[in-house]
Structure formats: structure tokens, C-alpha cells
Symmetry: C2
Subunit: 205 residues, 2 copies
DNA sequence: CGATAATGTGAGCAATAACTCGCATTGTCA
DNA sequence: TGACAATGCGAGTTATTGCTCACATTATCG
């Protein structure tokens, strides 16, 4: 029950083993959603995955690593959605760019809201904390860049870092809040309008 | 290691025992900050508090209850700050009212940012989750009321619940973000201006 | 004081869950 | 097909930790 090694154990090479790894991760996701982090035991994961604990420990050094892998996968997907949504933001007017960012984030949250909920709500901060921060930095940089290029006036008057910080955190939080407390709004187009408005009016002179 | 009973065990009556209870709570706060939730064991708490485990279990049914008590105390304080900041919001123009809300929340976060950080960052959602929700509801209600009374035009055009939701979550999140990632901004008056602006412009026609 | 209640003690019990290891099965490839 | 590697197995070990209990100490009050 110590948590030193976070590195993977063995690299799966045969098809059989990659299936095992995948089964473990799917099972973990399901149990996390159903029981929460504390109650998610490696034995239980193995059982649900239809695999032995031994196999589990062949590919993951510990429980945390499994969840970390899952989170990583999730963040990867989120990043992809964000990139897609903001692909040509720099060429778009403010409102469209903002909408792209927000839609991207919302789309990511619509994939598996329950799992996302677990990540946000009750995950002790694990190894991949770094990874989250990195994703945030990327978004922060994007917002900053947009302002510098398309809103040079604003860039002169206010502290860009602070402005970007406020925008990113506000959008992120409202999104999280929706997933947690008002999942119905996830599908409401008027809701998207509201967040877009929040951002647009905040940076508009 | 089951978590059924959350109710307190004995009511402290003599001065000696209240001191014990307090020592336990202080010790818990310190350890939480230093080691995190997982590593905070009841044995360790008792030792740090200069008390025996037996005494600890005389007043708290389990570890979770101690943390819950601590969180409750913290929420109580936050609520007080919020109430103070928004005491006469209904009589104030938008900008002042918004500033009161934000200053109140920031003030609450300045008390013990480290402990707050633990609560936000790595606390599994415990019994008092209800309590958090309640505090949020109160704030939500306040914002709603303000809009209804002082911004009737807006109340007609947009969905009040959504607007209040966006405001409260945005403000809360930016505040949390600051505590976690940019504690320096906690003292920056320009930062407060930014959040005020975020809110004011969002609801202004 | 003396009796009773309140409070405090900490060794140790019991439960839990992470993790190992020796062996079985299945795939690969010459 | 046979030999070696890759993968899979799961009972059992180990360590941790929440928590109890039988007993000691301290307060209260007639």
C-alpha cells in the first residue's frame, strides 16, 4: 500500500493482452461511476473485468495508475475536442471563437458525464495532476493569443494573464457546475448563449 | 472501517472535554494540510492532538465525522462572510452589490487558504456535501432576488435560474482557481475589479 | 469524603485491500 | 512440433488503519 512507482509495468504486445488492459480500464470506469474512488478496489476491478488480480498487476503497478491512465485518456479526448472547437479561432470574430471554445468543452463533457463527474468530484489528486495543469495552460495560451491578435486594445489596458485566467476558469467552472448540478442544461442551446455572452461581454469594451 | 453512523457520540460538557474536542479538530486541520486526506489517520490525529485514540472516538464516530465537523465550521465561516458582504445588496447599485459578494467570498478564502485548498482539491465528498449545496442555494437565491428587484427588465428576457447559476458558479470557480493556482491574486485589487466586471457586464444590457 | 459520573488511556483486535509468487495456459516461431 | 516467451491465474501474505474495550484518572456534589 505504498505509492512509489507510477510507471507502467509491462507493455502489452499480443492482442490478448491489450484486450486485458482495455477490459481493466473499462471495468475501472464502470466501478468508479458506480461506487466511487474509495470503494474501487483492485480485486473488484479484476473481477469485474473478468481477469485475475495478477494480470492486473502485470500491467499496472497500482490502483492509482489505473485511474491515472483512465484520466489521461479522458484528458486526451477533452484536448481533442477543444482543439477541434478552436481550430480556426484566430480567424473568427470574438463571438464565434468563444462559441467554439465553449462548444468544444461542452462536447467533451457530454461523452461520459458520469465518469467526468467522478474525476471532478471525488478524485484525490493523483499523478496526472500535472496533465490537467498542462491542458489548462494550453487553453490559457490560446485565449491569450486570441486577445493579443484580435483585441490589441484590450491587451494594452488590462492584464492579459488575469483576463485569460478569469475566462478559462469561469467557462470551465460553469461547465463543471452544469455536469454536476444541472445536466439538463448540457443540451440547452440557450445555455451556451449565456456562457458565450459571459465571455464576450467581459472582454468587450 | 464502515461508515454508517455520522452522528456525534458524546456531548462534551466539562471544560476539559471541549478542549479535547478542539485539540482534535485543530490537529486534524494541520494534518490535512500537511499530509492530505488519505494520509490523515485517526491514530495520527490523536497523537498530534496529544490525546488518545479512545478519547477521539468518544466524541467522533469515525474519521469522516471529524473532517465533516471541520468542513462545517469552515462553511459556517464562509456563510458569515458572504452574508456580511451582501447584507444590504438589495439597496445597492449593481456594481457595489457584485463587489460585496465577491469581496465576501474572497475574504472567506483568505482565512486559511491551505485548508480550503484541501477541502476543494482532495476531499472525497463526505456527509456535508448537503451543506455545501445549501450554501450555494442561499447564494443563488440572493442573486436571483437581486435581479428580480433591481433588474426587472433582464428578469423578463432571460432565464433567471440560468443567469444566477452562471454568475454564482463563475465567481466561485474563479475564486477557487485563484486559491489553487494564483494565490498572489488574492490580494490584488485589480483582480477583484476583473471579477466585478465579469459579473456586471454579463447582466448589463 | 466517598460515591458516582465524566473523561482519558493505549494495547490490541478485526477488517480490509493492495500486492506477490509459483504455477498453468496460451501464443509464437524456428 | 517442440521450446521459449508471453500472458493469465488466484490463494495467500503483509501492512495498514479504523476502532473497541477493560481499566485508570479526574471532576462533581451531597
Amino acid at each position: 500500500m505504498q505509492k512509489i512507482a507510477i510507471k507502467p509495468r509491462k507493455q502489452a504486445s499480443q492482442a490478448r493482452s491489450t484486450a486485458t488492459v482495455d477490459a481493466i480500464m473499462r471495468a475501472t470506469a464502470r466501478i468508479l461511476v458506480k461506487r466511487g474512488y474509495q470503494a474501487t478496489t483492485t480485486n473488484h476491478i479484476a473481477e469485474t473485468a473478468g481477469v485475475s488480480v495478477g494480470s492486473l498487476y502485470q500491467y499496472f503497478p497500482n490502483k492509482e495508475a489505473i485511474v491515472a491512465a483512465l484520466l489521461d485518456e479522458h484528458l486526451e479526448a477533452t484536448q481533442e475536442f477543444l482543439r477541434r472547437g478552436t481550430a480556426n479561432a484566430l480567424g473568427q470574430p470574438l463571438e464565434d471563437a468563444a462559441r467554439g471554445l465553449i462548444e468544444g468543452l461542452l462536447a467533451a463533457h457530454r461523452v461520459d458525464p458520469d465518469l467526468h463527474r467522478v474525476f471532478v468530484e471525488e478524485l484525490p489528486r493523483i499523478a496526472t495532476f500535472e496533465r490537467i495543469h498542462q491542458l489548462e495552460q494550453e487553453t490559457l495560451g490560446l485565449v491569450r493569443a486570441y486577445i493579443e491578435v484580435r483585441l490589441p486594445d484590450l491587451a494594452k489596458k488590462r492584464n492579459l494573464d488575469t483576463v485569460a485566467f478569469v475566462i478559462v476558469h469561469a467557462v470551465e467552472a460553469v461547465t463543471h457546475g452544469v455536469v454536476l448540478f444541472r445536466p439538463d442544461l448540457l443540451e440547452d442551446p440557450a445555455f451556451v448563449d449565456e456562457i458565450v455572452r459571459l465571455v464576450v461581454r467581459y472582454v468587450t469594451e
